[in-house]
Each structure stands twice: as structure tokens, then as C-alpha cells.
């Protein structure tokens, strides 16, 4: 299943602040769009339940006091070898040859949930109201929409992310922004032992350090003094000399 083109997200864990803007924008766009609805049950009650394509989770790594917090957005990774697709008995789950997006045809799905058993990432969520399996579509109804300005033809989550932790592009095109980010920043795939070859990549947390030396705290050259009136000197100026 080697696609010529494989659209994917690249998520920078070094940038993600765990604000859930991608979660809400995804739900907002998709519940009313082509892939919707994403219904909630008992949304304002004691035991809410609902369908989301994207979740942001938080993990704590390391041993106290040397710990770090990792915010971890998780959605369908549009695997290049998706185990969820061949097991579907109806052919409702499929991977598009044209761009590698994994989709569910809601008109064919019988709601047997077998595909979700065969996704190691828990990326599929069953919609009990309409009785079909749902999952991230990479906003397939946005990214090719020519009525949108070209820079808006991106998944809703990518556009929403305030610190810009999400990149979108063709990872088979070495010149794309996504491919470059994977190459330059050590992009990796989740759970390689599952053998799914996910298309979405993650960029690792990087230690950002800045060392401040003592002399940098003392201002040796005050720029204010440079902006002060230039010193006057007593002799004749050019103007004086020219006014005879």
C-alpha cells in the first residue's frame, strides 16, 4: 500500500501547550460538516459521553523532581499499513489511493466495531446515535475546497492551534513543510512495534536552554548615551566657513 501521496499531520510535542483548541475546533468543524454529526449524550449531566476525532492527553515523564509534562494530541494517524481497513467486512473502511486518507463510508458501515478492535491507538470512536464508526478525516471536506483561500485549505485543528504545534502536508513530498519538519527535528511514529507505519508523525520534546553570563547582566554600553546630543566643539564649522 505505498501511496504516491500521503497527507498527514506532524505534531510538535515541544510546542503543544495542551490547550485543547484543536479538540474543540475539530468538533466544531466536523460535527456540522461532511463527517458529522459528532453527537454528545448527557453533555451537561453527570456522566457525559461523546464522539471526538481528536483528544489531547497529558503525561508526566521522569522521576520527581526531574519530571516533564508532555501534552499529547491523539487522532487517527492515517497509517500507511492500516490494520483497521482489511478487517472491515463491508468495505466501509478504506484508504484512499489518491492521498492516503483513511475514511469510513457511513452508508456502508454496519456498526460491527470490528475495525476499532484492530486499531492499536484507539483512534476510532463509535457513534451510537447514527450507529456508524467515526474517525478523523483530515478534514477532507476543507483541504480540497476551492472556495476557501489557499492558506485556509488545511485541517481545522492545524488552523486553530495557537502556538502552531500542528503542521499539515504530504509526507511523500520531500520538499513539503511536513517532510522537512520530520527530517530536521527527528520526527517519529507512534508504537512502531504495532507495524502500522503511521503517516502522522510527532516531533520530540527538545531541551531549550539559555545560559546567562554575569557580564550580560551589567550594561557595559548604554545605548541611551549614544542617542544623547552630540558633543559640541568650539572651532568654526563648515557652515561658518562658507558664510563669508
Amino acid at each position: 500500500m505505498a501511496n504516491e501521496k500521503q497527507l498527514a499531520l506532524v505534531i510538535d510535542l515541544n510546542v503543544c501547550v495542551g490547550c485543547h483548541a484543536c479538540v474543540t475546533s475539530c468538533k466544531e468543524w466536523n460535527t456540522s460538516g461532511w463527517a458529522g454529526p459528532l453527537p454528545d449524550q448527557d453533555a451537561y449531566g453527570k456522566d457525559p459521553d461523546g464522539v471526538f476525532f481528536n483528544r489531547v492527553q497529558t503525561f508526566e515523564c521522569g522521576t520527581f523532581p526531574d519530571t516533564e509534562t508532555v501534552h499529547f494530541p491523539k487522532s487517527c494517524l492515517h497509517c500507511e499499513d492500516p490494520p483497521c481497513v482489511p478487517v472491515c467486512p463491508t468495505g466501509a473502511s478504506y484508504k484512499r489511493e489518491s492521498d492516503g486518507i483513511v475514511l469510513v463510508d457511513y452508508d456502508k458501515c454496519i456498526g460491527c466495531k470490528y475495525c476499532s478492535w484492530n486499531c492499536p491507538y484507539g483512534a476510532r470512536e463509535f457513534d451510537e446515535i447514527t450507529g456508524v464508526m467515526k474517525k478523523c478525516t483530515l478534514c477532507v471536506d476543507r483541504i480540497y475546497d476551492e472556495t476557501l483561500p489557499p492558506d485556509r485549505r488545511k485541517p481545522a485543528c492545524v488552523l486553530a492551534c495557537p502556538p502552531g504545534a500542528r503542521l499539515f502536508g504530504d509526507i511523500k513530498d520531500p520538499t513539503s513543510e511536513a517532510s522537512k519538519a520530520i527530517r530536521d527535528n527527528g520526527g517519529y511514529q507512534l508504537m512502531p512495534e504495532a507495524g502500522t507505519s503511521p503517516a502522522n508523525h510527532y516531533l520530540p520534546r527538545r531541551k531549550t536552554q539559555s545560559v546567562v553570563h554575569e557580564d550580560q547582566l551589567q550594561r557595559a554600553d548604554n545605548p541611551l548615551s549614544r542617542e544623547a546630543e552630540p558633543p559640541k566643539f568650539g572651532g568654526p564649522t563648515i557652515d561658518d566657513a562658507s558664510q563669508w
Binding site: 503525561f59 515523564c61 491523539k74 456498526g111 470490528y114 476499532s116 492499536p120 484507539g122 507512534l190 504495532a194
Partner: protein, 324 residues
């Protein structure tokens, strides 16, 4: 995994039905190749096939309760090239058709030798259809078992023992049922069925015990380290990202305590294997005890299937450990 009752009933009912069909054909073969003159009326096979057909149909009915869109179920037969679930969807109605054919030929007495052998025996039409039926039964056992065995993200299921156990437990329950049925009519094959049932119960128990033993020391497929790709030994989830429920927290967890699972394991070992073995062994030929054995065993096998699901621990559960 969450045990879905539709699937518990589906797999146990069709297992018994398949086992019964195999028992009927085995009985017919036993009488044909045997030296005695004993034979059974077509009615015996016809009613037996009808019982098996009812079990298969009830299983099929139960499976529909598992689907959100049963009206589209026919589509599930289309992906047989890649999906074991799709293969089962084909194999089950095919077997039901064969059960009708096998029982029907016997009921109508439409039988005749297809070929003669040197020793004076012959291969009759019903016997030939019976062989095909047995192959279909075994194929269906394979499909059912493989649906679970091929899910590599549930390590407890991803094993050849899943297929073996589904087959052996189905056969054991089918033969106990056949013994009860044959004893009720006082037929000559009762002894054959009783003896075979005892052997099958023991073999099924051995297989199931091996898978319990395997599950107890199973290694997880992945750890949080690979799941989120953070190069740390010590990773804890702070939050799964929501405080409510989701499909991921419902479908993949059974929600009962480990004690419940342990208790039901003990129960199914007793009710699914030990008790029916004792009842079949002691109740030699007593139809009432054999029927009781079948019922006790069926309840035990339902519990067994529940435990089979509950013990399946899916890799995705790594991502759903804590609400924050």
C-alpha cells in the same frame, strides 16, 4: 474488552449447533462402516439437523443484535478476501443451508448409493452431503476463532489456542447435546456420543487451561514509552483528556473487578467442564441427566466466553488510564 451478550450467545449457540451436526454425521458414518446391521431412521437425522438449524438460526439472530445497521448486513459478505468476519458471514448461512439439505434428504428418504466399494459398502448421497456439512462446520469454527485470533492488539486472543478452544468447546457441547438427544430416543449411537463427549470435554479443558496459563504470564505488546514516543522509563498518564465517557473507555474495558473475573473463571471451569463431565460419565444413558449436563455446560460456556472477552486487554488501553 467488554463482553457483548449478543456475541456470547452467537458463538456458544452456533458452536453447539456445529458440534451437533458433526456428531450426527459421525453417528451415520459409525453405523455405515460398522459391522453390525444397526441403522437409524432418517427421522433421527432430520430432527437432529433441525435442532442444529435452530441453534444456528438463534446464533444468527443474536448476531443481528450486535449490529447497529442489521439491514445492511448483506454487505458484510463482500470483503471475504481480507476479513475473517466477512468469511464467517458467508460460512454461517452456507452451513445452515447444508443443515437443511442434510436433514431434508434424510427426512424425505432421498438417498441412494453414489458409488460402491469392493467390500460391499457404498457411499450414499446423505453420507456425501454429511461430509460436506462437516467441512462447512470446521470452516465456520475456523472463521469464528480467527475473528478473535487475528486481532494482534489483544495479546490474549492473538494465539492459535483461540481457534482450537472455540472448536473444541463447540464440539464438546455439540456431542453432549447429541448424547442427550440420542438417549431420549434410545438409539444405538448413544454410547458413541457419550464416550466421545467425555473425551472432547477433557480435550477442551486442556486447551482452555493452556490459554488461561498463557494469559497469566502474557507480555504486553507495547508500553507507554512507545505509545507516546517519549524517551523515558517512567511515564504516567495525568489525564486521558476528558472526564466523561467515550467509546474507548466503554468498549475496551469490562468494568468489573478482578475478583469477578476470577470468580467466573472458577465457575466456568466447574460448570463448563467438571460438572458436565461428571453428569455425562455418571448418567450413562439417562436422557434426563444428559439434558441437564448440556444445560449446565451451556451456562458454563457462556461464562467462559464472558471471561474470554474480559481477559482480552487491548493495547489502546494504555491511552485511557486516568481522568485528570
Amino acid at each position: 474488552m467488554r463482553p457483548a451478550f449478543s456475541v456470547l450467545f452467537l458463538t456458544t449457540l452456533i458452536g453447539a449447533g456445529q458440534g451437533l451436526l458433526i456428531a450426527l454425521v459421525a453417528g451415520q458414518l459409525f453405523l455405515v462402516v460398522g459391522t453390525g446391521d444397526a441403522s437409524l431412521s432418517g427421522g433421527f437425522y432430520a430432527v437432529g439437523s433441525l435442532i442444529a438449524l435452530v441453534l444456528l438460526a438463534l446464533g444468527l439472530l443474536a448476531s443481528f443484535f450486535h449490529l447497529a445497521h442489521p439491514m445492511r448486513a448483506w454487505r458484510a459478505a463482500t470483503q471475504w478476501r481480507t476479513s475473517w468476519l466477512s468469511r464467517e458471514v458467508i460460512a454461517l448461512p452456507a452451513l445452515m443451508g447444508l443443515a437443511v439439505l442434510y436433514g431434508g434428504l434424510h427426512a424425505l428418504g432421498w438417498d441412494g448409493p453414489l458409488m460402491h466399494f469392493a467390500n460391499g459398502k457404498s457411499l450414499d448421497l446423505t453420507m456425501a452431503v454429511g461430509f460436506v456439512t462437516v467441512i462447512a462446520c470446521l470452516a465456520l469454527f475456523l472463521c469464528t476463532g480467527m475473528i478473535y485470533a487475528c486481532v494482534k492488539f489483544i495479546r490474549e486472543w492473538h494465539s492459535v489456542w483461540t481457534v482450537i478452544n472455540y472448536t473444541m468447546m463447540g464440539l464438546a457441547s455439540g456431542f453432549v447435546l447429541a448424547a442427550a438427544y440420542a438417549a431420549s430416543l434410545g438409539t444405538v449411537v448413544t454410547g458413541l456420543y457419550v464416550g466421545t463427549a467425555l473425551v472432547l470435554i477433557v480435550l477442551a479443558l486442556v486447551g482452555r487451561a493452556i490459554s488461561l496459563w498463557r494469559n497469566a504470564r502474557i507480555k504486553p505488546l507495547a508500553t507507554l514509552r512507545g505509545a507516546i514516543g517519549a524517551p523515558h522509563q517512567n511515564i504516567r498518564q495525568v489525564t486521558q483528556g476528558f472526564n466523561g465517557k467515550s467509546f474507548n473507555t466503554k468498549e475496551f474495558f469490562h468494568g468489573k473487578s478482578p475478583e469477578t473475573v476470577r470468580m467466573l473463571t472458577t465457575f466456568f471451569l466447574a460448570s463448563g467442564f467438571a460438572a458436565p463431565f461428571a453428569l455425562v460419565a455418571l448418567g450413562m444413558g439417562s436422557a434426563a441427566l444428559l439434558w441437564l449436563a448440556f444445560l449446565v455446560q451451556y451456562v458454563g460456556l457462556l461464562a467462559e466466553r464472558w471471561v474470554f472477552f474480559a481477559q482480552g486487554n487491548h493495547v489502546q488501553n494504555l491511552y485511557y488510564q486516568r481522568k485528570g
